[in-house]
Structure formats: structure tokens, C-alpha cells
């Protein structure tokens, strides 16, 4: 009974978030809608007993990916109204994709009710244990391959975007730490009226001290 109520809450929140993304005039509102959608989706996951996936959704999508979206939107300066003008010709294509997706979902939901099974959470005390067990045994090789693909993608992104720039002054902490007193400073003990001599400042010759005649 209470889970039903919560499901209604999360599901309507998810739909509201999605609607905000679609119809929000301001892209920042869109990001907020995305945030709402992620949080509610995570609530649905937890309701199904997949609490690990739910919290992971918040940590990864809300904590990292959506922040990046927000960063990009905050820092770029685009007039989004002009961006929308050319969108009309693509409308049939978009509708086609939506229709295909909807058909798939309806087929999956009606054709194979056995596939949509009850949550597995009851069989295992914690679903991280269940996930870990299946990830490192049955799906061990795909898991490793996925890791390699992600690593490649990361290295690729860095290589593609990295441009060596010249003329940038960088701080070398090691050089700063190793710098000795003698590198910057010479201690001398000049006699009064003699100056420091030629060893320190070569461009400067000590001036003779001229005593002003006292008045009177």
C-alpha cells in the first residue's frame, strides 16, 4: 500500500522531470528537470530493492555527469532561441524514433511478462554482494573488456583535447623546494663607507661618501 503511494510519487516526479527537460524554455530549467528525473528514477530503483543501483545513479549521474552539464551550460553563451529555429525539419525523424521506442516498450511489456520478474533482492542479503558475485564470475570477461573500453575512451578524450601550449609559465614545485639561499642572496659584510665592492652588483660601483659641509 505505502509502496504503491511511493511508486506514484516517484513515477510522477520522473515524468515531471522529463517534461521539464522537454518544455523548459531555459536550458538551466532543463538541467534541473534532469536532476529531478534522476532522483526519482533512483527512488524507483530503491523501491524495486535495487538500492545499490539507485544510490549509484545519484552518485554517478547526479554527482558527476549532471554537474558537467551544468558547468557547460553556465559557461557557454548561446542564444537557445535561435538554436531551436532549425529544429522543425527533424520533427518527423524524432517522432519516428519515439514511435519505435514506444513500440518496443509495449511489445516487451505485453509479449514477455515472464521477463519482467519480481526483484531479486529477496534472495540475497545485500545486492552489492549479488552484483559482485555475478560480475566477477559469469560476466568476468565482459566486465574487464568494459573497463578497457572505458580506459581507451578516457585516454582518447585526453589525447584529442590536449593541445600543447607554448609560452605558459608553470610552477615547478621541485625546483622551488630545492632552491637554496645562495641562489638568490649573497651575504656580505661591507665596511662603513666602503660599499659592498664588486662581487655583488657588478653594474654598480661604490660611490665615495661625500660629507656635506655643516651649516654654520
Amino acid at each position: 500500500m505505502i509502496p504503491d503511494l511511493l511508486f506514484l510519487l516517484f513515477a510522477s516526479g520522473l515524468l515531471a522531470g522529463a517534461a521539464l527537460i522537454m518544455f523548459g524554455k531555459n536550458p538551466m530549467v532543463g538541467v534541473l528537470g534532469m536532476l529531478l528525473a534522476f532522483l526519482n528514477a533512483s527512488g524507483l530503483f530503491i523501491l524495486l530493492g535495487a538500492e545499490f543501483l539507485g544510490l549509484l545513479l545519484i552518485m554517478v549521474y547526479v554527482g558527476a555527469i549532471a554537474v558537467m552539464f551544468l558547468f557547460v551550460l553556465m559557461t557557454i553563451d548561446i542564444d537557445f532561441a535561435t538554436l531551436r529555429e532549425g529544429a522543425a525539419p527533424y520533427l518527423p525523424l524524432g517522432l519516428l524514433v519515439v514511435a519505435l521506442l514506444a513500440a518496443q516498450f509495449i511489445m516487451a511489456a505485453s509479449g514477455a511478462p515472464a521477463l519482467i520478474s519480481a526483484p531479486h533482492a529477496a534472495q540475497e542479503p545485500q545486492n552489492i554482494i549479488a552484483l559482485g558475485r555475478i560480475l566477477f564470475t559469469q560476466y568476468g570477461v565482459p566486465f574487464q573488456v568494459a573497463g578497457l573500453v572505458l580506459l581507451t575512451a578516457m585516454v582518447g578524450a585526453i589525447v584529442l583535447t590536449h593541445r600543447p601550449r607554448t609560452g605558459v609559465k608553470r610552477q615547478s614545485v621541485a625546483a622551488q623546494v630545492q632552491r637554496q639561499r645562495g641562489d638568490a642572496l649573497t651575504l656580505t659584510s661591507p665596511q662603513t663607507g666602503q660599499g659592498t665592492g664588486k662581487t655583488v652588483a657588478k653594474h654598480w660601483a661604490p660611490k665615495p661618501v661625500v660629507q656635506k659641509p655643516s651649516k654654520g
Binding site: M1, L32, G63, L70, M74, T75, P125, Q126, I128
Partner: protein
Amino acid sequence: MLNQYFAAVFTPDNLWWLGLTLAAILALAIPVLIGMAMLTWFERKVLGYMHLRYGPMYVGPFGLLQPFADAIKLMFKEPFLPERANMLMFMLAPLMVFIPALLAWAVIPLGPDPFFNKNMVIADINLGVLYLLAVSSLGVYGILLAGWSSNSKYPFLGAVRSGAQMVSYEVSLGLIVLSVIVLAGSMNLTKIVQAQTDMWFIIPAFPAFVMFLISILAETNRHPFDLPEAEAELVAGYNTEYSSMPFALFFLGEYIAMITMSAFTALLFLGGWLPPLNIWPLTAIPGIFWFGIKVLAILFFMIWVRGTLPRYRYDQLMRLGWKIFLPLSLTWLILTATVVKIWGNLA
């Protein structure tokens, strides 16, 4: 039909449970809020003595009522709205900082209560650590939105800095927490504390403890990493345009985050509510006392650092996070996992 549904949902049992949970939430949230108020007093007092002055001393004995006087003053200030700011987000942002800061306390266990010896925690969930990390990553949105919606230069710069900083240090924070989870063999905060009965994790995981302590300073935007609000460059950072209660909410959120992170450190490394030695006169003292002492010690450390160290430069902060802490914490995680694989964990 709807009446039947509501009659089935709001049974006396359910209502009793709901009331009990609400009471538990209030019993935790109100002390946390008062603790936050006292923390501002504590900070000003400690900083005062470090600067060879008294700190607040006129309102109440030892100036103890100063935070409440400040709160009343803030409430009666005019909530100023900047022109051409995005009003909805401008008002939403302080809430998005304040609410996640309080949400985190749902999973923080305070130890057995002195009367019935039951564990004092609102939700003793298996993934408490993950929940804490997930919720604490939500706070950055309020800060980013505040900076953006103010439509002003300094808040914007402060928000961008703050966002980048919090996201960067979350990575190493998460890795260190992961090494502690491996050590304790559980993600449940209560079980992590129970695993420390023989030895606090500060002893086997001392390097991780040091890194964690520095990372929480950056995560909570505290000195010496308080670049988001560097007064000398950014006026006050993301909250420059805020006043009155919205400003107070930012302030509350920030200081509650400090307490939360200190409590988190105490639970992960300092044995939570466990006494320092497992012998009689120490075990007779309620666990909540030890927990409070530990949280206070870490809070004192945070204030002490503020009174002692100069502010980092922004590139130095980023280098520390990505080039030093990330490899070190990753190495530490692999090391811990190897050792645990060979000799077993400490649970």
C-alpha cells in the same frame, strides 16, 4: 474507492510508525541545528584566542547566546533580490544547499543510547556510506545555481570554483572511503564502527586518515581551501548577492556539512562512539559522549587550520587533488585490498 485506499494506508499502525519516525527526525535535526549554531560560536571563540582577543563575550555568559542573537538579526534583515536575477533558482539554491546537508544525518549512527542500549540511528541501511557520499554530492548544485542565478560576476566565479573543487575532491574522498569499506568488510556505518572495537582504523590506515582530513577541508570549502569565497578576490563568492534568511540557509548548510564530515571521519577512522580503551570506567560513559568528543576534536582541527594556514592558490589546490591525492588514494586502495585479500579484513 479512494477513501478505501487511504483507510488502508493510514492505519493506526502506520500512523504510529509515521509519528515515531517524525519524532526521531526532529530529535536528531534540532540538536544538529543547535550544534551548528554553537559551532559558529566555537569557531569565533577559538579564532579569537588564536588572534589574542576574546571573541564574542557580551551576549550571554561567555558570549554563548551570540549565535542566537545573530540568527534573530538575520531574520529581520531585508531579503534583497538582485535585479535581473533568475528569481526561481535564486530562491531555490539556498534550499538545495541546506536540505542535502540535513538529509545526510539520516544514516549517521550515534551509538547505543544510555537507557535501552539500542542503536540510535534513523535508517540503519546497508549502504549507509554510499548514501552519505551520494547525498553530500547534491550540495554542489545549490552552490552552482546560486552563482549562476545571481547574474553577477563574483558569485559566478565563486560557484565555478566551488563546483570544480567539490567534484575533484569527491573522487579521492570516495577512494579513501572505499579502502575503509574494504578494511571493515561492510558499507553499513554501524558495522564499520563495530569492526573498530579492537583497533581504531586510524592506526592501520593512518595515511588514509591524513588524506581524508585534508580532503574534507576541500569538500566543505574550508580554509585553506576556501577559494570559492576568498574574501580578498571574490568578495564572498557564490553568496555575495544573498542576504537575510537565504544567506542564513547557505551558512547553515555549510556548517552542517562541516559537522557531517567530522562525524563521518569519526565513524570511519576514530571508532565512532567506542571509548578509547575497552576498560571499565571508560566503557561506563555513554557512547554519545565519546562520539561528541571526537566530532568536536575534528571540528577544532578544522578551525585550527583556519587560524594557522594561508589560503592555497587555485592551481595548487587542483594539483593537490588530481596529481597527488588521486594517485595516492588509488595506491592506498590497492594496497589495502591486497593486504585484506591475504590476511582478511578487520571485522
